[in-house]
Amino acid sequence: MPLNDKNNDRATNEFNQYVKPVSLWADAWKRLRRNKMAVLGMWIVGIYMVVTFGAALLPFKSYTEQEMLHINLPPSFKPAGVVALGQLEGRKADLEAAIVKSGRPDLKQDLERIENEIVQLKGEIDTDPKHKRVYILGTDYLGRDMLARTIYGGQISIMIGLIGTLTAAMIGIVLGSLGGYLGGWIDNLIGRFVDLMYSLPYMLVVIIIMSMLPTGSNSIFVLYIAIAMISWLTISRVVRGQIISLKNSEFVEAARSMGAGSGRIIFRHLLPNSLGIIIIYSTLQFPSFIMNESFLSFLGLGVSAPRASWGTLVSEGVQGMQLYPWRLLVPAVAMTVFLFAMNFLGDGLRDALDPQSKNRN
């Protein structure tokens, strides 16, 4: 059979029939597609990506624009002016009742202020286009649109997750494959270092680094470096193990006998064979990056204003949650759905790419 025969890439089975060979990736894709939850997760993650990163092209409101007459409006499909007027009139009635009931003249001032606002709002409501806006997810304590803020918050959170995952994977792959392939003192050095880092209270180190930053510095950048610096540990261990188990196999022997150098063996032969497991761990790590970033932002040590991540939004929402629950619930639900989808996708990928995995459950 000539080498360039088209049938050459078709395998035959034991009955000498031609079968279409299935690559690892095609096989994994087939398995992934059969897992309904993973497919759902994939769709949700995809939609989030499109909406958050395409936000600039989509007709969303500004996430920084403040509107003092639209403070803390509940989610509604009605125009903002109508909602705000209803809210002000409700507050006015409450105040009047309180003044009559407890006889507190000091509340009169507030009443006057609200009456003035009502007059102002009634004057503008039909002329000013801003009162025609619809805040379907309500507004926050500065009258900013919650929908826009949640989307831009997601952009920052997902961005940090992506960059962090990539950086961690890069460092982990390089150090893990170096240690695994070369062995000896280099492996020992990397191994001891990884052990040491594991015994550090990891989030606390990040908190220390974040608290050290001078105010006004580019905290997002430092934040992701700080998280990525410590998150490569697991990936490097996994890659190292994979490389060690593969480096004495026949195909590596064959490559070496044909004169391939260490670099070529690592990058052309060993790493492509470890790619599955790298993808699995990266996908599973992605949500934990987002959680860690939001955890820091929640404590006030993460992303700083005017930017906001999901964590910042949740922590802002906590402050007024009794009266304005949507300010907490909107970002919390948005974030939870994304993390949920990511976890399902990660589990699905693990089952698809590593069918013999012991961790299946």
């Binding site: 209270p201 606390l204 050290m212 955890f295 949920f340 990511m342």
Partner: protein
């Protein structure tokens, strides 16, 4: 076994030493000090304060002085709370965090294994699907979302539980419920998933088939043979789980205003209260190292195939 314990114990010392060194220099290199507040102090007073805390000496001297103090279990004065030492601050807060952490871990362990066993025995039935959906939810939702939402529902709307505080307040033990649930959620979920997975694996193993073939009742097989083998991975997970719970309590203590070391840590990090941050890091590291140490020994006791040389 005893030689293993001694050797393992000795290996802790360099780790601790490196942690102390690292945190010392990290914090000292930071711009801005504990006394660089909004109000500018006159230079003479600043110099006096610096002298009092030995901060005018070269960094190396400060470092050795600090190491010497730590060896005497003296973590130094707090720069912010003038009348308290770091030992006082951490000493008061430590039992709070440890109590919260152990209660959360204990609850996660008990509930997690019960749920895991149930869903393994009812594999692919509705109980299984329900339990595992709850588990994914527990893993996906971060504590700072669970905590406030619990608080919103049970404390603010239904008014069943107190919003915050700790044992000493009027509500007593009721104050514990929400922090424990918030803190344990992810670990409960993980333990449930792990115990389900390992139980299913063990139930298919040869020695369990042998036990069934002997004619043992299903209950006896599960109790005496399956559970013992299936618990091993969970024991290994306890080390990381405990350290995760201890660090996770930073956020829970913040939400529910609990006077533990996590709250102190965040406050001192925001205040740049150097000695308190370092003391806290040391305490945290000791807890983590001790947890892993105990787990290593437990593992050897539970699994006869592992021998320590």
């Amino acid at each position: 076994m005893s030689r293993f314990i001694v050797r393992r114990f000795l290996s802790v010392i360099p780790t601790l030493f490196i942690i102390v060194t690292l945190s010392f220099f990290l914090i000292r290199l930071a711009p801005g000090g504990p006394f660089s507040g909004e109000k500018k102090l006159p230079p003479e007073i600043m110099a006096n304060i610096m002298r009092k805390y030995h901060m005018d000496e070269p960094l190396v001297n400060q470092y050795f002085r600090y190491i010497g103090d730590v060896l005497h279990f003296d973590l130094g004065p707090s720069y912010r709370y003038k009348d308290q030492t770091v030992n006082d601050l951490i000493g008061n807060a430590f039992p709070v965090s440890i109590l919260l952490g152990t209660l959360a871990l204990g609850t996660a362990l008990v509930l997690g294994t019960i749920v895991g066993i149930t869903s393994a025995l009812k594999q692919n039935k509705w109980q299984d699907y329900a339990a595992m959906s709850v588990a994914v939810l527990g893993i996906s939702v971060p504590a700072f979302v669970v905590g406030p939402i619990l608080m919103l529902i049970f404390a603010l709307k239904l008014k069943w539980l107190p919003t915050s505080g700790w044992l000493s307040s009027r509500a007593g033990a009721l104050t514990l419920i929400m922090p424990i649930i918030t803190l344990m959620m992810p670990y409960f979920a993980y333990i449930a998933r792990m115990s389900r997975g390992s139980l299913i694996e063990v139930m298919r193993s040869d020695y369990v088939r042998t036990a069934r073939a002997k004619g043992l009742k299903e209950g006896v097989v599960i109790r005496k043979h399956v559970l013992k083998g299936a618990m091993l991975p969970i024991v290994t997970y306890l080390g990381p789980a405990f350290s995760g719970i201890i660090t996770g309590s930073v956020v829970v203590e913040q939400i529910f205003v609990i006077p533990g070391i996590g709250r102190i840590f965040v406050q001192s990090a925001l205040n740049r209260d150097y000695t308190v941050i370092m003391g806290d890091v040391i305490v945290y590291s000791i807890i983590l190292i001790a947890a892993n140490f105990v787990v290593d020994i437990l593992y050897g006791l539970l699994d006869p195939r592992i021998s320590y040389k």
